[in-house]
């Protein structure tokens, strides 16, 4: 086993900053819906702020439907923001006109989650990579070939696979192509959306190692989105835990696992690891009787309260369900922030 990486985080500069990001989806219902304006609003992302420094990985973890993917897509402007600001490399890119935004696209890319849907099934791998290398500028054919060879070597893809179609590749290979495509434009910052989900464990490990190797080689920064707290911890320098559109806990990785302060983080962690850890957790955290709730609409007050074991343990205190007292992220020391009225 290697020694832990000693990265001095404090000296490098901020590459991406997100301030109070909000994304509300609207759902129209009813008679002749197209002509009516009263809509039901689903806050997929409800005020998220964080920053990522150069050469750093920020992990974003949460259950499906908590809005983590939406955060990634909103940063890359694949979905319009409702409000908030995105600052990339010191420049506010929130309202950048489309043609100016192209410069940002060169530096910021995404690795998509769905293996089968992310690659055009009717294009060969070489054509997919070629398209990516020729988006900006018009390199000569020799240059393109050289670049494709270089990319496939970087992501450890067999050159023979370049003539295949996506559906002929295995899951791991598809993922590698996805990574190569993101690197092809010369991105420095990658949003990796669940890069290890839907992969077998043995392949998962390959991809994690590959992403970490690439980060070292190419000085990349990642926003690493996953539902698997284990992988997130392993990959990231800091971790944010999201619940229903909000960050409920954020801090340096290691602290999140070793010393979680939010009950939700604790539950996420204990639901993942082997039973030994489960048994070591306080009894009320592993009780099985908390139900399943409507994910679409957060409860008033603390949005985690309906599922919260502490809330039940403490006899359902009013502060947790008071609509005016939604807990804010509060620093509890060592840049560790928690949004909870009764942190562990």
């Amino acid at each position: 086993m290697e020694k832990p990486e000693e990265k001095s985080i404090t000296v490098s500069r901020t590459i991406l900053e997100v301030e109070d990001l909000k994304k509300h989806f609207t759902q129209r219902r009813g008679l002749l819906s197209a002509f009516r304006e009263d809509e039901s609003v689903i806050p997929a992302v409800d005020g998220v702020s964080f920053y990522i420094r150069e050469n750093e990985t920020m992990g974003l973890v949460g259950e499906s439907g908590c809005g983590k993917t939406t955060v990634g897509r909103a940063i890359l402007r694949l979905t319009p923001l409702t409000s908030g600001r995105v600052i990339f490399d010191g420049n506010d890119i929130t309202d950048l006109p489309a043609d100016k935004f192209l410069d940002v696209r060169k530096q910021m890319q995404m690795i998509f989650q769905d293996l089968d849907a992310a690659l055009n099934p009717k294009m060969r791998i070489r054509a997919i990579l070629k398209e990516a290398t020729t988006v900006f500028g018009r390199p000569s054919d020799a240059e393109v070939d050289r670049r494709i060879d270089e990319l496939s070597e970087q992501v450890n893809l067999k050159p023979a696979k370049l003539t295949s179609y996506p559906h002929e590749l295995s899951g791991g290979e598809k993922r590698r192509v996805g990574i190569a495509r993101a690197l092809a434009v010369g991105a420095r910052f990658l949003v990796a959306d669940e890069p290890t989900s839907a992969l077998d464990v043995s392949i998962q490990a390959q991809i994690v190692n590959l992403l970490r190797g690439l980060q070292r080689e190419l000085s990349l920064s990642y926003l690493f989105i996953s539902h698997d707290l284990r992988i997130v911890e392993l990959m990231s320098h800091k971790v944010a835990v999201m619940y229903l559109g909000r960050i409920v806990e954020m801090g340096l990785s290691g602290r999140i696992v070793n010393n979680p302060r939010h009950p939700y983080t604790k539950i996420l962690w204990s639901s993942l690891v082997e039973k030994q850890t489960m048994e070591a957790s306080p009894a009320f955290l592993t009780r099985t009787d908390w139900g399943v709730f409507d994910f679409e609409r957060p409860a008033a007050g603390c949005r985690f309260a309906p599922r919260c074991p502490i809330y039940i343990e403490r006899g359902k205190p009013d502060i947790c369900t008071n609509p005016d007292s939604e807990p804010e992220l509060v620093d509890v020391g060592d840049t560790h922030k928690v949004a909870c009225h009764f942190p562990l």
Partner: protein, 366 residues
């Protein structure tokens, strides 16, 4: 075959023919398994290892062609043993070239009719199944209540609708779904994945089967929901005590639920034995594949130290091009000069090396 055996699978082969590539996909390629009464057999393996197809073969649910081509599946209940693949040879003829099936003829429709007759009153009544992706595995056009009631009326002595509804409510309570009365009237649409899976488990148990096949029951659910479902299954195992064949790629789930484990790779069983020995890191016998699989899962220590993960190099075995020798040879890190020739050219047998402990590896044979 001991009296305690509920299900015994021998030399099961289920192939699919890819018309586009003109090749056989050897999805299940000589599987031997045994499930004993009251125990939970965990089958663990990566995608494409043939574990789900094995389960579908047992209940005659393989729809792609040519499907099951060889083997016996002996199912015992109430003291009667029945081969669920009775007469398979009459429907299939094949020729082998260098020990590999290259030409095959099968009367698929005749076989489907035959297998439907063989599993009649067994499928559903004696063997229940739980599938992955509960939200699409429940009929979206029927209420949860109707679906469970249908299962009860088809498979138990209860033929009265009102009684069956009461029974359905009882089972929904057993699986700890919240507000079971309301759920009876609900359609699967609008229920969360966890709730649908609970309903599905209730439906599977409601026919009071002697064998439950759970095919990736937690895949596609959130980890918090997953752990709840596993908790539920653990609890039901204690209360109901149904014999179970549990299929999963997640070793943690297997380790919590199974008594015995079979590890599958590339369509065949690589090793099997009691769970505490297979999944222990320091057992004296250890298939290199299982060892590598266990190592590639990040454990707590890894995570804390941010160590390099030990990945298994190479790709999951392509079940079209099954090698002559050991299936794991190309990815194996424990081949040494003495056995290399055998590993490359001859497939090892699945051999019992100690009580209840079977392994398919040249390291431990001879």
């Amino acid at each position: 075959m001991s009296e305690n055996t509920v299900l015994k699978i021998q030399d099961l082969r289920t192939y699919f023919f890819s018309r586009s590539k003109q090749v056989f996909i050897r999805s299940v390629d000589g599987v031997d398994l045994q499930v004993n009464r009251g125990e939970t057999l965990g089958i663990v393996g990566e995608s494409g290892s043939g574990k789900s197809v094995t389960a579908l073969s047992v209940t005659g649910l393989v729809t792609a062609e040519p499907g099951v081509i060889t083997g016996t599946i002996e199912f015992t209940s109430n003291g009667v043993t029945k081969n669920l693949l009775q007469g398979l040879e009459d429907f299939v003829t094949f020729e082998t070239v260098d020990g590999r099936i290259m030409t095959l003829e099968k009367d698929n429709r005749g076989w489907q009719k035959n297998v439907d007759r063989l599993v009649h009153r067994i499928r559903g009544q004696e063997i229940s199944m739980i599938f992955q992706n509960p939200r699409v595995s429940m009929n979206p056009f029927m209420t949860i209540g109707k679906q469970i009631t249908e299962s009860i009326m088809l498979n138990t002595a209860i033929k009265n609708a009102a009684e069956a509804t009461d029974k359905a409510r009882y089972w929904l309570e057993q699986v700890k779904i919240d507000s079971p009365n309301l759920r009876l009237e609900n359609f699967p649409y609008g229920l969360s994945g966890g709730m649908c899976q609970r309903a599905m488990i209730a439906m599977a148990l409601s026919s009071e089967p002697s064998l439950l096949i759970a095919d990736e029951p937690t895949t596609g659910l959130d980890s918090t929901i997953q752990s709840k479902i596993v908790d539920l299954l653990v609890e039901l195992k204690e209360q109901v005590g149904v014999t179970t064949m549990l299929i999963s790629h997640d070793i943690n789930i297997i380790s919590r639920l199974a008594d015995n484990v079979a590890v599958m790779y590339g369509g065949s069983v690589m090793e099997s034995g009691p769970v505490e020995r297979i999944l222990a890191k320091d057992d004296e016998y250890k298939h290199p594949y299982t060892a590598a699989l266990l190592e590639s899962i990040p454990d707590e220590e890894h995570i804390k130290l941010k160590g390099h993960l030990k990945a298994i190099e190479g790709d999951v075995l392509d079940t079209v091009n099954i090698p002559d020798g050991c299936r794991f040879y190309s990815r194996c890190n424990r081949v040494h000069a003495k056995i290399e020739d055998k590993c490359r050219h001859t497939e090892p047998d699945l051999r019992e090396i100690s009580e209840g402990r079977l392994i398919r590896c040249w390291l431990y044979l001879n």
